[in-house]
Symmetry: C2
Subunit: 104 residues, 2 copies
């Protein structure tokens, strides 16, 4: 699916890490929420409230998921899941375009 | 208006200047198109096809409009217009969140 139809977009961007990570909140008619975001190269740590599915649309990252020791290399077209109420570390190797879905 | 309702969002970001400028395309039911974007600090030159209204949602820029010699300082809440088929120079002083409307 290359477009989200019949959605609501919050105009102002969400900004993190001095604007190195930014996103737009997309609200769906069924109550689902996703964010479409950009991560500039760098290393970040994100906490989660809900379970998240991070879909990498373009770019290249390495991710250390909670409770794991090995970094996963993830590129455009791949995704990863992060449990609710946890955190993950991410190394952004190239400017990365992502879509984050919040579940539950 | 803080949200755009009943719109279509193109999932993949538009990327310019090695990702220092990125945006999402928002399509409205009446055929209007806007982009919601982020500009990282730097100096850029953009060409226009249609007339554009650039609304600065947050951040700080200086703009040199076509045919002018003076740079305009523009911050969050302000906007500027650029004629169709022209170009403008922009100095982004802080990470800047913008909404661009394409007219005509």
């Amino acid at each position: 699916m290359s477009k989200f139809e019949n959605v609501t977009v919050v105009k102002k961007a969400n900004m993190y890490f001095d604007g190195k990570v930014t996103s737009r909140t997309i609200e769906f008619a069924n109550g689902d929420v996703k964010t479409l975001g950009i991560m500039m190269p760098g290393e970040y740590r994100f906490g989660t409230d809900k379970k998240e599915i991070m879909e990498i649309l373009a770019g290249q990252v390495e991710v250390l998921l909670p409770g794991e020791d090995l970094w996963h290399k993830i590129g455009g077209g791949d995704s990863f899941e992060v449990p609710a109420n946890s955190a993950f570390d991410i190394k952004v190797l190239d400017v990365t375009d992502y879509c984050c879905s919040y579940l539950g």
